[in-house]
């Protein structure tokens, strides 16, 4: 299933010989080019990729690792599904370039268990790379060795958090670690590790081929390049789209055929709910950031039911390690049920919103820090409507 609109950077022609060009230069040239491009992580958090690579490249260590985070689990996100099947070679190229740039010899793809059906395709491509001399010993005749192994997840949303992912790779429960230290210092097996999203890594050979300058000219000042969007919900043409950063939400809705839109959930269950009145805002790290999940709700939708679905999701997926997340999500879900039964006072609702804000600062990892987002944004924008319907 391809990109439904005309691709901007994710066009096969843009890859050229970026892979060979990168490996023919010095490792530091790759790091500098990526840093110059302004590329930020596409998983959602938006950490500058060049900075991450620079930290790993300058670390002194006998071993280093590259990990591709293919644990795409955010509700409403499926763009990595397309990249993993249609841009498999380009993904491997991105990982190999990263390994060369930071001085790693081993890479792992952490593939979510739900995508197990892709395993033979990805392993087949790795095999092909070995036969072509692009993986293994002395890649392209150079003094550089690199191996890639695919490892499967087993149905835990929290493993998309990079330190939980590393715990899982090491054979433990997927419970996030305290950060710092960050994986670039103390990552897989205690060694410096770069963890990047699939989309970030596929972008790397494009930047090396077309140059940082070309990439910087797309998007906005603080959000260079484009974003792949996974669009679902009340739209005529659900699927994957590519838009430059800075695109207005309303223009994006127009493109996907959304009618009578009431609200849009941007960034998945852990993202925020944007009401009709704010659709002129734009998709970028400085305004409305997203890992790519866009879920559209039309005017027939009951916002409380949507919120309940989100809170049930988080209650199940919280790893249970820290109290704000384990208890907080349960309390918010109980609150939704109370509202549904007309038993929640406005005073208690305000307390729940306060609880949500506490979770945002007190939770250990991104899951608990972001899970109150839909509760707070839906209650802020649709609280009156919801309370009027349930009394």
């Amino acid at each position: 299933m391809p990109i439904l609109n005309k691709p901007i950077i994710f066009d096969k022609n843009n890859f050229g010989n970026g892979f060979e060009k990168g490996l023919n230069g010095r490792p530091m040239d790759i790091v500098l080019e990526i840093r110059e491009s302004g590329l930020k992580g596409r998983g959602g958090a938006g950490f500058p990729t060049g900075t991450k690579w620079m930290l790993a490249a300058t670390a002194v260590s006998e071993k280093k690792y590259v990990i591709c985070n293919a644990d795409e689990g955010e509700p409403g996100t499926f763009k990595d599904r397309m990249l993993l099947t249609e841009f498999t070679e380009e993904l491997l190229q991105g990982m190999i370039l990263c390994g060369y740039a930071i001085g790693a010899k081993e890479g792992y793809i952490y593939l979510r268990g739900e995508y197990e059906y892709m395993l033979s395709h990805i392993n087949g491509t790795i095999q092909k790379f070995h036969e072509e001399g692009k993986l293994g010993k002395n890649i392209l005749g150079k003094n550089f060795d690199f191996e890639i192994t695919v490892r499967l997840g087993a149905g835990a949303y929290v493993c998309g958090e990079e330190s939980a992912l590393i715990e899982s790779l090491e054979g433990h429960r997927g419970e996030p670690r305290n950060r710092p230290p960050y994986p670039v210092n103390t990552g897989f097996m205690g060694y410096p590790t770069v963890v990047n999203n699939v989309e970030t890594l596929v972008t790397v050979p494009i930047i090396i081929n077309k140059g940082a300058e070309w990439f910087r000219n797309i998007g906005t000042e603080k959000s260079r390049g484009t974003k792949l969007l996974s669009v679902s919900g009340d739209v005529e043409k659900p699927g994957i789209y590519e838009v430059p950063f800075g695109t207005k939400i309303i223009d994006m809705l127009d493109m996907v055929g959304a009618k009578d839109t009431k609200a849009v959930q941007i960034g998945g269950a852990s993202g925020i709910c944007i009401p009709k009145e704010e659709l002129h805002r734009n998709l970028s790290f400085e305004d409305v950031p997203t890992g790519g999940s866009i879920i559209v709700f039309n005017k027939s939708r009951d916002m409380l039911k949507i919120l309940k679905n989100f809170m049930e999701f988080f209650t199940e997926e919280s790893c249970g390690q820290c109290t704000p997340c384990r208890i907080g999500n349960k309390k918010l879900l109980d609150g939704v049920n109370m509202i549904e039964q007309g038993k929640c006072s406005v005073k208690y609702l305000k307390e729940l919103i306060e609880l949500g804000r506490t979770m945002q600062v007190a939770s250990k990892c991104g899951l608990g820090q972001s899970s109150p987002n839909p509760f707070i944004s839906i209650m802020t924008h649709f609280g009156d409507e919801i309370l009027a319907e349930h009394y």
Partner: protein
């Protein structure tokens, strides 16, 4: 378990450890192999893995119980897992759930008497643009309708 089954399982786990390694990081791949082949990871299998990896059996149990895809008990021949997350819910997951329950005569969380089918919910499968979606064992089914679901079940019966 019969004594012959026990020794076959022990042999199989020994073989897995030989190929995948006896370090802690081999634990997940080993468990995934056992889960895939048998549909569950028995208490005996957990003990044996722990013994060969030189870790406490509770460590193995901790991992098995953490991940949704690992299970400790026997599973039906066809394990049906319907996506319950938002995009599939918007596309009438509820109607599919009712159709499955009606057709199989069981509720979600239950197994049919002949141990052929079990019904469960699962969180986001990444098929949000083609919902409602479900997994039967590892096979993905998308764009479901109540009628289509019944046809799929009939093809398995």
């Amino acid at each position: 378990m019969l004594a012959s089954e026990v020794s076959a399982l022990n042999e199989e786990i020994k073989e897995l450890v030989n190929t995948l390694g006896n370090g802690r990081q081999a634990l997940m791949p080993i468990l995934q192999h056992i889960q895939r082949k048998h549909g569950y990871i028995s208490a005996h299998a957990q003990q044996e893995v722990a013994r060969l990896l030189k870790i406490h059996p509770v460590e193995v149990d901790g991992v098995v119980s953490f991940y949704a895809f690992f299970r400790k008990g026997k599973r039906a021949k066809y394990n049906i897992r319907l996506c319950q997350t938002i995009s599939c819910e918007l596309m009438n997951k509820e109607g599919i759930a009712r159709a499955l329950e009606r057709e199989l005569g069981i509720k979600f969380g239950e197994v049919t008497k002949d141990e052929k089918f079990s019904l469960e919910f699962i969180n986001c499968l990444g098929m949000c643009d083609q919902g409602p979606a479900m997994l039967i064992n590892n096979e993905v089914y998308t764009n479901l309708t109540p009628r289509k679901v019944v046809e799929i079940l009939n093809s398995l019966k």
